[in-house]
C-alpha cells in the first residue's frame, strides 16, 4: 500500500503522463490548438468577418491558404477565431458542470435525506440522450453562447455528480473522517479537507472528457442550428454553413471538421492518460 502510493507520486504526474507517446502527441496537438486559438487576433491573416465578393468560394492554397467561404471570408482566420469560441464553450461547460456536479454529489453523498431525491433527479437526467436534452434546454433558454454553456453544463452535471456521490459515500465512513468528527470539524470542513482532495483524480479525468463531449455537442447544436448565434463563428456553425456548398467546396467543412476531430481526440487521449497516471495500480507498471 505504502509502496504503491509512493511510486505513483515520486516520478511526478507530468513524467508519468508524458511517458506514453500517444498522450505526449495529444498534449502537443491540443497545446497547439489552444495556442492558435488564444493567439488568433495576432496570427490570423485577415479579419474573420470581412467579406469579399471576388474571393467567394476561392479554393485553398490560392490567395487564402484554407480558401474562402461563400461570403468570401478567410477560412483560416475564421477557423482560428471559431476555435476561441468552441474551446471556451468546452472549457466553460467542463468547469461549470464540475462545480455543479461536486455540489450535488457532495450533498447527495453526505446527507442521507438528500440522497434519494438528488439521485432520482440524476437518474432522470441521464435517461435522456445528451443531445436531445441539450436541444430542449437551449430551446427553453434561447440560443446564446452563455445559454449553450448553461444547457450543456446541466446535461453533463450528472456525470460528475454520480462520481462525487459514490466516492463521498465511501470516504464518509473512513476512520480519518470519524477522527475529524471527533475533533469537532464541521461537515463543510470535512467535505473540503477530507472528501474533495481524495476525489480530485476521478473528477479531473471526467472533466477532461466533458470538455471534449461539450465541444462535440456544441458543434452538433450549431450544425443543427440551435446553437450559438450564427454570426459568431464556431467550428460547428462553420460546418453548418459549409454544408450547403459541399459539392463545390468540400474544404469548407473539411477544415472545421478536422479541427473538431483533433481537439476532441487529443482531449480524450489526455483524459485516458490522466486516468492511468492518477491510478496508482496502473502507474506502477509505467
Amino acid at each position: 500500500m505504502t509502496a504503491a502510493a509512493s511510486t505513483s507520486e515520486d516520478p511526478g504526474l507530468w513524467k508519468t503522463l508524458t511517458a506514453r507517446p500517444a498522450v505526449l502527441v495529444a498534449l502537443v496537438v491540443f497545446g497547439a490548438i489552444l495556442a492558435a486559438a488564444i493567439l488568433a487576433p495576432w496570427i490570423a491573416p485577415a479579419d474573420p468577418a470581412r467579406m469579399s465578393v471576388r474571393a467567394r468560394l476561392s479554393p485553398p492554397l490560392g490567395d487564402y491558404i484554407f480558401g474562402a467561404d461563400a461570403f468570401g471570408r478567410d477560412v483560416l482566420s475564421r477557423l482560428l477565431f471559431a476555435g476561441r469560441v468552441s474551446l471556451s464553450i468546452g472549457l466553460g461547460v467542463a468547469v461549470l458542470s464540475t462545480a455543479l456536479g461536486i455540489v450535488i454529489g457532495l450533498a447527495a453523498g453526505f446527507f442521507r435525506r438528500l440522497d434519494a431525491p438528488l439521485s432520482r433527479l440524476i437518474d432522470a437526467m441521464m435517461a435522456f440522450p445528451d443531445i436531445l436534452l441539450a436541444i430542449a434546454l437551449v430551446a427553453i433558454l434561447g440560443g446564446s453562447a452563455a445559454n449553450v454553456v448553461l444547457a450543456l453544463s446541466i446535461v453533463y452535471t450528472p456525470r460528475i455528480a454520480r462520481i462525487v456521490r459514490a466516492a463521498t459515500l465511501v470516504i464518509r465512513e473512513l476512520p480519518y473522517v470519524e477522527a475529524a468528527r471527533a475533533l469537532g470539524s464541521s461537515n463543510l470542513s470535512i467535505m473540503v479537507w477530507h472528501v474533495l482532495p481524495n476525489i480530485v483524480s476521478p473528477i479531473t479525468v471526467q472533466a477532461t472528457f466533458i470538455f471534449a463531449y461539450a465541444m462535440l455537442a456544441e458543434a452538433g447544436l450549431s450544425f443543427l442550428g440551435v446553437g450559438v448565434d450564427p454570426s459568431i463563428p464556431t467550428w460547428g456553425t462553420m460546418v453548418n454553413e459549409g454544408r450547403q456548398y459541399i459539392d463545390q467546396a468540400l474544404y469548407l467543412i473539411l477544415f472545421p471538421g478536422i479541427a473538431i476531430s483533433l481537439a476532441v481526440l487529443s482531449l480524450q487521449l489526455i483524459g485516458d492518460g490522466l486516468r492511468d497516471a492518477l491510478d496508482p495500480r496502473l502507474a506502477k507498471d509505467v
Binding site: M1, T2, A5, S6, E9, L174, P175, Y176, E178, A179, A180, R181, A182, L183, G184, S185, S186, S189, W193, H194, P197, N198
Partner: protein, 331 residues
C-alpha cells in the same frame, strides 16, 4: 513496571468521583435482519486519571461502546455523565465544544490518516476546528506535539505514506492530544502493530497519562496488553459487561467464567504455575438474536437452568469489583 506508576495506580483507583459514569447504556441498530443489540444495559465508572481496559472478542460491542461514549454514535438508551455534564442530552453544538475534552485514537494507522494531507494539517485539524490560535501558533503547537510523541518537528511537512505504522500511530496520538483532552478512547490502538512497536506505543501512552493526567479507555482483545497498561479492566461479552475490577485482582482471580476462559487463552510464561484451562467452544452468538437471560450461557462451562431466566445483577466481589454470574449468587 517501575514503582512510581504502581503508586499512581493506587492513588487513582481510590480517587473519588469518576470522570465518566455510564449508566444503563444501550445501543441498538435496526437492520433488515432485525435489531442488533450492540451494547446492552452497560454501567461502568471510569475513574479520573486511570486507564481502564475494555476487553472482549470481536463482535462483543466494545468498539461501539467506545464510539458511543464520544457520541460518534448516539445511544439508544442510558446516560453518560462526563465530569458533571450529561452527554446524551447535549445539542450538536454543545457537543462540538465538548469534543475538545474527549478524543479517540484509532486501530488502523493507515486509514485513520488522510493520505492527501500533510502531517501538520492532520495534527492541527482540531485546533483549526476550534479556532485555536493563528497559523503560526498552530504550527508551533504541532511541532511541540510531534516532539512529545517521539517524532521530530520537521516531519510535519511530510505526507502519511512516508511514515511507518508505529510512526503513523504516533501522528494519530498527536492529533488526539492537540486539544488537550481529559479523556481518550484508544480503540485497539496497538493491535495493528508489530510486537516491538506495540511496546513503544504502550509506553508512550503510559508516559502521556502520567504527564497529562489523562483518563483512558483502552479497547483491546489482547489481555496481555491490557494487563500491562491498565489500572482497571472491564470484560465485555455480546454487548454486556460481565466483570469489572482492578486489573491485578481481576487477572489473578477471575470471577466470571468468561473472564477465566479469556485469561486461560493468554500464553503463560511460567510453566510451573498450574492453571485450569477453560477453552471456549463455538463462537460468539449473533447480536441479532442474543441468548435469553445470561448472554454467555450457551458457551458457559458452568451454566445452570436458571441462567436462561435473566441477566444476573452485579455481584460485588471486592472493593470496586463485581461480576455478573449466577454461580456467585448461588455460592
Amino acid at each position: 513496571m517501575p514503582d512510581t506508576s504502581a503508586a499512581i495506580r493506587e492513588e487513582t483507583t481510590s480517587a473519588d468521583a469518576p470522570l465518566l459514569a455510564i449508566r444503563n447504556l444501550s445501543k441498538h441498530y435496526h437492520t433488515p435482519g432485525g435489531t442488533v443489540h450492540a451494547v446492552e444495559d452497560v454501567s461502568l465508572d471510569i475513574p479520573r486519571g486511570s486507564i481502564t481496559g475494555l476487553v472482549g472478542e470481536s463482535g462483543s460491542g466494545k468498539t461501539t461502546l467506545g464510539r458511543t461514549l464520544l457520541r460518534l454514535v448516539s445511544p439508544t438508551a442510558g446516560t453518560i455523565r462526563f465530569g458533571g455534564a450529561e452527554l446524551t442530552t447535549l445539542s450538536d453544538r454543545e457537543m462540538v465544544a465538548m469534543r475538545k475534552r474527549m478524543q479517540i485514537i484509532f486501530q488502523d494507522p493507515v486509514s485513520s490518516l488522510n493520505p492527501r494531507l500533510k502531517v501538520e494539517h492532520i495534527v492541527a485539524e482540531g485546533l483549526r476546528a476550534h479556532a485555536v490560535g493563528n497559523r503560526g501558533e498552530r504550527r508551533d503547537r504541532v511541532a511541540a506535539l510531534l516532539e512529545e510523541v517521539g517524532l521530530s518537528a520537521d516531519q510535519m511537512k511530510r505526507y502519511p505514506h512516508e511514515f511507518s505504522g508505529g510512526q503513523r500511530q504516533r501522528i494519530g496520538i498527536a492529533r488526539a492530544l492537540a486539544l488537550e483532552p481529559e479523556f481518550i478512547v484508544a480503540d485497539e490502538s496497538v493491535s495493528a502493530l508489530d510486537v516491538s512497536i506495540q511496546a513503544q506505543i504502550l509506553n508512550l501512552l503510559l508516559d502521556l497519562r502520567d504527564r497529562r493526567n489523562l483518563t483512558m479507555l483502552f479497547i483491546a482483545h489482547d489481555l496481555s496488553v491490557v494487563d500491562y497498561l491498565c489500572d482497571r479492566i472491564a470484560v465485555m461479552y455480546l454487548g454486556r459487561i460481565v466483570e469489572t475490577g482492578p486489573a491485578r485482582d481481576l487477572a489473578r482471580a477471575p470471577a466470571h467464567p468468561y473472564t477465566r476462559a479469556l485469561l486461560s487463552a493468554v500464553p503463560q510464561p511460567d510453566p510451573t504455575l498450574a492453571r485450569s484451562r477453560d477453552v471456549l467452544e463455538g463462537s460468539i452468538p449473533s447480536p441479532l438474536d442474543p441468548p435469553s437471560g445470561c448472554v454467555f450461557r450457551t458457551r458457559c462451562p458452568r451454566a445452570l437452568p436458571a441462567c436462561a431466566e435473566r441477566f444476573p445483577a452485579p455481584f460485588a466481589i471486592g472493593p470496586g469489583r463485581h461480576a455478573h454470574c449466577i454461580n456467585l449468587e448461588v455460592s
